[in-house]
């Protein structure tokens, strides 16, 4: 689903590459943890896949397509096939839970009846049934992240990218979120999750790629967070 071929990313004004000749292939339905310290290149990986940035060198393919060759008006179509979740939830504070999730469908022009049908379904899936009319500030952190996941997943994207989705949550809540992501993964959605959270990585026993200063340190099929923790 996602394939990086010898990808290097150097941000303008910086000498050190944020990613240095990294080659990674993520298959369909896979669950991948990206681990490493801050500044190791995890977020850069996700940004490149979303084509928020372009690779300095190498080729980034998503669903078989070279994203660098997409014309800029086609980039929105790429992003519709990728769900994204962030540490800070990125919800619209003035919209209700329902409206936040519906927003993702409205902006891509889905008809109203489809929205009325799809949104409650996905809210049910993430465990927020009955909270449709709440505003984000009335929800706990975990619940807000569930809304964000619902919004990311409501289009049924083939890929879900998560950038430290549990970074702002306590351990118990984090476990709930991980269960949810696991469930989404089991529907066949490819998930790439960048994280610092040792516990979670060690519990899940999924594929782990560790990055350090933009270099790939290891790629383990059923890995743990690290040796020196």
């Amino acid at each position: 689903m996602i394939r990086f071929d010898d990808v290097t990313k150097v941000y303008p004004g910086s000498k050190h590459p944020a990613l240095n000749s990294v080659s990674i292939e993520v298959g369909k339905g896979e669950f991948l943890f990206l681990v490493g310290a801050s500044g190791s290149g995890k977020s850069t990986f996700l940004r490149l896949a979303l084509r928020e940035e372009k690779a300095t060198k190498g080729v980034v393919r998503v669903s078989g397509k070279d994203v660098a060759k997409l014309s800029s008006w086609k980039v929105p179509h790429l992003r519709r096939t990728i769900g994204a979740v962030f540490q800070d939830f990125r919800l619209l504070p003035n919209k209700t839970v329902f409206e936040n999730v519906a927003f993702a469908l409205q902006v891509i022009g889905k008809p109203r009846h489809a929205i009325a049908h799809t949104v409650p379904e996905v809210l049910e899936l993430v465990g927020l049934a009955g909270k449709e009319q709440r505003f984000p500030h009335e929800l706990s952190g975990g619940e807000q992240q569930r809304v964000a996941i619902a919004r990311a997943f409501v289009n049924r994207p083939a890929i879900l990218l998560a950038d430290e989705p549990t970074g702002n949550l306590d351990p118990n809540t984090s476990v709930g979120i991980m269960r949810l992501l696991d469930r989404i993964n089991k529907t066949g959605t490819t998930i790439v999750m960048a994280t610092h959270d040792h516990e979670i990585v060690n519990q899940m026993r999924k594929r782990v790629i560790e990055l350090e200063n933009g270099n790939m340190l290891r790629d383990e099929v059923s890995g743990v967070y690290g040796y020196s923790r």
């Binding site: 800029s72 929105p76 992003r79 927003f103 993702a104 902006v107 022009g109 289009n155």
Partner: protein, 304 residues
């Protein structure tokens, strides 16, 4: 559906960012009003020009019984000479300059003279026979009075050609300077309004960058992200343009026509009709600036 959604977004945007919308409205009102004043100043100069030009005449004084000019050596202007002058005024050479010609007889000149020097003892010692006959000529373009004046300078039977040239030259120079000044005023206010409106809208775009980011994230097309914002800004600008137009018309009606025109009567003033011709420009400028700067302001947050 999408149309309905865009409408909803505009309403929500305007309501939530009410303070921003109001500031766009106010900035537009003030700057468009000033631009409008700049335009009106132009119209005022034109109006003054028309007013004075209508009063500019070249006068050809004919030789009388007591004229001493060289061209009057033969004494009083004959009917043949008068006919020649009239024919010359209609000749192809002068046709392009002359609008209308009035003949002023001695009696008419006397009437005018009496009227002008009503309170002076002079009028009692003057008789109609002492007054000169004259041709009073309205010009098509008063700035070209010299052509006509020079043409008749040495004609037999013409005592003198009077064209108020010194006064006129200064008046025309003044009016042209005023025109230039009002252009400058309009251009400067226009520049100010472009910068002010653009800055305010950029601020609005900044407060929406989070929303813009989320829209991009979920794959909204740029067009779809921009349209509500551009329309929102243009609606605010339209409200501003409306208020500015109302203010401009009100100032013209009550201040200029209602007060100034009654107190200082030496010239005509712009009227409501003039103000109304400025109004469409205010809308074009206001909506144009708002639309373009809304487009450019969001562009920053839309780079893919």
């Amino acid at each position: 559906m999408r149309f309905q959604f865009i409408l909803d977004e505009i309403v929500i945007g305007l309501r939530r960012n009410l303070a921003m919308a109001i500031s766009v409205v106010l900035v537009t009102v003030v700057s468009l009003f000033l631009v409008g004043l700049g335009f009106l100043a132009q119209r005022q100069v034109d109006t003054m020009k028309d007013y004075w030009y209508d009063r500019v005449q070249v006068t050809i004084f004919l030789c009388g019984d007591v004229s001493i000019a060289a061209s009057c050596a033969d004494g009083k202007a004959t009917d043949a000479q008068k006919e020649q002058i009239e024919a010359n005024l209609k000749s192809p050479q002068l046709q392009g300059y002359v609008k209308e010609v009035f003949f002023e007889s001695k009696e008419q000149a006397f009437e005018h003279f009496k009227e002008q020097s009503k309170d002076s003892a002079l009028s009692e010692n003057v008789t109609a026979s002492q007054m000169p006959e004259s041709y009073r000529i309205d010009l098509k373009n008063p700035e070209q009075y010299k052509v006509v004046a020079d043409y008749f300078k040495n004609t037999q039977g013409v005592e003198s050609v009077q064209s108020q040239n010194q006064v006129l030259d200064r008046l025309f120079a003044l009016l042209n300077q005023l025109k230039l000044g009002s252009w400058l005023l309009a251009v400067i206010t226009l520049l100010c309004s472009v910068l002010l409106v653009a800055t305010t809208i950029r601020l609005t775009a900044f407060t929406r960058r989070r929303e813009t980011g989320i829209m991009r994230l979920v794959g909204a097309s740029n067009f779809f992200i921009q349209l509500p914002f551009i329309l929102e800004s243009m609606i605010a600008a339209a409200v501003g343009a409306t208020l500015a137009s109302v203010a401009l018309v009100a100032v013209t009606k009550f201040q200029i026509q209602g007060r100034l025109a009654k107190q200082l009567t030496f010239t005509n003033y712009v009227d409501v009709g003039d103000a109304l011709t400025v109004v469409p420009w205010l809308f074009i400028i206001g909506l144009g600036i708002a639309g373009v700067s809304a487009f450019l302001a969001l562009q920053r947050y839309l780079k893919v």
